[in-house]
């Protein structure tokens, strides 16, 4: 697709400039320049402690940078809370999918963003119907009997599907996926990648944090490798190979 090749030329959805973050004496991020273009999937790679998770948390609004600036669609923004990032259309999908096991699928999808009347009472049917639509339409993961089913009864892949359904329904622009495949079976991982690939066509960009280079290579358009809080490589898929990426990740 030509659109993806030209992604870098368009205004990035989110851009981090010269970002640094200290945790006491430890530099988690050092002068990071990072961007998420339109309709692209960025693979964020690196060893444990490279700073990937800190970078994700920063874009989620959970931690704040000590230095540097953040731009959304070219305009400078503050990301001081989870709300701020949510307002910019950023959704983080965590390893544990951030779902409540004791609540139903519907309740989880609409958790904190319930469809209500003016008095705050929930419109159960509307939420249920929407949940079914989203799960069967955009996400189309099978095996979910009823939107009333408790999330605790779902498998790892189905849980991720619910988390993605949530992101899709709320028209997120950027999905941050932090090790989403660590708890998934092979088939579920493939499904997940299908979803995020399909979402780029709908204008949603994703950042995929993973240890698994083969997974990353399967789905990403561009790769950013981190090491000791710095970005050591930023390369488009067509300009690199798995071998080159492996070397960069392993090389300290």
């Amino acid at each position: 697709m030509t659109e993806q090749n030209s992604a870098a030329n368009l205004t990035p959805l989110l851009e981090l400039r010269d970002i640094s973050k200290q945790y006491g004496p430890i530099s988690a991020l050092k002068n990071i320049d990072f961007y998420i273009g339109q309709r692209e999937i960025v693979g964020l790679l690196g060893d444990n402690g490279a700073g990937k998770s800190t970078l994700i948390k920063l874009m989620s609004g959970i931690v704040q940078a000590d230095r540097g600036e953040i731009l959304a669609n070219g305009k400078q923004v503050q990301l001081n809370s989870r709300r701020d990032s949510e307002n910019l259309g950023i959704e983080t999908i965590y390893q544990d999918a951030a779902l409540v096991d004791t609540m139903s699928i519907t309740r989880n999808i609409f958790m904190g963003r319930e469809i209500t009347n003016r008095l705050g009472f929930m419109r159960h049917k509307e939420m249920r119907d929407t949940a079914v639509d989203v799960l069967e339409g955009t996400v189309h993961i099978g095996g979910i009997e009823s939107p009333r089913k408790l999330v605790g009864e779902l498998s790892g892949g189905q849980k991720q599907a619910v988390a993605i359904a949530r992101a899709v329904y709320f028209k997120r622009l950027i999905l941050l996926l932090d090790e989403p495949t660590s708890a998934l079976a092979v088939r579920a991982t493939e499904k997940l990648f299908e979803h995020i690939r399909k979402l780029t066509e709908e204008g949603v960009s994703s950042v995929l944090v993973t240890h698994n280079l083969y997974h990353a290579f399967q789905v990403c358009d561009r790769f950013v490798v981190m090491s000791h809080g710095k970005i050591t490589l930023n390369v488009l898929k067509q300009d690199t190979t798995i071998e080159e990426l492996t070397q960069h990740v392993i090389k300290v």
């Binding site: 989870r82 709300r83 949510e86 983080t92 965590y94 544990d96 999918a97 951030a98 779902l99 409540v100 096991d101 004791t102 609540m103 309740r107 609409f110 958790m111 904190g112 963003r113 319930e114 209500t116 008095l119 705050g120 009472f121 929930m122 159960h124 993961i141 099978g142 095996g143 979910i144 009997e145 009823s146 408790l150 605790g152 009864e153 498998s155 790892g156 892949g157 189905q158 708890a183 079976a185 092979v186 088939r187 579920a188 499904k191």
Partner: protein, 345 residues
């Protein structure tokens, strides 16, 4: 009900017996006992059927269906029920309140003292309720601000407010003599019913609407079920829990007003042990001690079940300790049952 998509076997991570049964759709034929409230409802109905049958067979020796007994039952339910609802909602939000018994007595005594000293009863009631809410919010504030278990905070609060009751009023019984209109409003008789039971029913419906149909209730479940997930999605856990603490405090004070109106006096020691009975009602009704699970129907039935058993034992002239033994078994049995339901997942 759609069946599992058999083309996606890898989506299921653990292939236990339950998974296999799901594959074969066997679960479709099993009773859906996943809801603890349903189980308690079945138990409640069985006990009612047995008691009613026995009273029909032996109307002279087992007077379960006598007007006097029904009337006493309906009068005794509201106080425990109202407190249990408040405590239960707080437990669903993942916190405890052991001070509800002390709160119930203290806010009742403050209200009754104001009425004795000439304050208009409705003003005294508003102040009593505000005091109850305030005690609940203070529990919440200390719990959240200092990040300590609410179990400890409210254990301290229980002793503190018990002591404050004695400091404020002394150990003697305090008469509550509200104007006649207020007494009939809170504790007037309507046939076998007392208006206190209607207040209880009304409050139950309000709490049911909040917990199961309002977004606030959804946030209680979310925060109690997985605080991190709720926070990640943008729910403020501290604020949500504060509201739940306030509801527990309000319920305790409201129960204090109901009790004072019914009995016409307040004993400074009357609330002792009520907090544990309320938690027992919640656990029997399927509220998880770990938070995130429970229902208003379950709590309602849990409180009714404790009092039904108490009533049956009284009618059988069983010594008082039988009640403790029965309720004790019931609590542990209910907890084991709830646990086994969760394990099925």
């Amino acid at each position: 009900m759609l069946s599992f998509d058999s083309t996606l076997p890898f989506l299921r991570t653990n292939n236990g017996l339950f998974e296999i049964m799901t594959d074969l759709n066997i679960t479709r034929f099993l009773p859906r006992t996943k809801d603890p409230a349903l189980a308690i409802l079945i138990l409640f109905i069985i006990i009612q059927v047995v008691a009613i049958t026995a009273s029909l067979l032996y109307p002279d020796s087992f007077r379960y269906l006598s007007d006097a007994n029904i009337s006493v039952m309906l009068k005794s339910i509201p106080v425990l029920g109202v407190i249990a609802l408040g405590v239960g909602i707080l437990m669903i939000a993942g916190e405890f309140d052991l001070s509800v018994g002390a709160n119930y007595t203290f806010s009742g005594i403050v209200m009754a003292t104001m009425v004795r000293d000439g304050a208009f009863v409705l003003i005294a009631v508003v102040i009593g309720l505000a005091l109850g809410i305030g005690i609940g919010l203070l529990n919440g504030y200390i719990t959240i601000r200092f990040k300590i278990p609410s179990f400890i905070v409210t254990l301290g609060a229980m002793l503190f407010w018990q002591g404050m009751t004695l400091y404020y009023h002394g150990a003697t019984s305090l008469r509550f003599r509200p104007p006649e209109f207020f007494k009939s409003l809170m504790a007037g008789n309507i046939g076998l019913l007392q208006s206190s039971f209607l207040w209880y029913l009304g409050l139950t419906i309000v709490y049911w609407a909040i917990l199961h149909h309002h977004k606030l209730g959804n946030h209680f479940f979310a925060v109690g079920g997985n605080k991190e997930a709720a926070t990640a999605i943008g729910i403020n856990p501290g604020r949500t829990k504060m509201i739940a603490f306030g509801i527990a405090g309000f319920s305790a004070a409201f129960a204090g007003i109901l009790a004072a109106s019914r009995v016409g006096s307040i004993q400074p020691g009357q609330g002792a042990g009520l907090e544990l009975k309320a938690i027992a009602a919640c656990v029997i009704g399927g509220v998880a001690l770990t938070g995130g699970r429970g229902s208003v129907l379950g709590i309602f039935l849990g409180a009714a079940l404790i009092l039904t058993i108490q009533d049956i034992l009284l009618l059988l002239r069983a010594p008082g300790f039988y009640l403790e033994i029965f309720v004790g078994i019931l609590i542990v049995g209910a907890a084991i049952f709830n646990q086994s339901i969760q394990k099925q997942d």
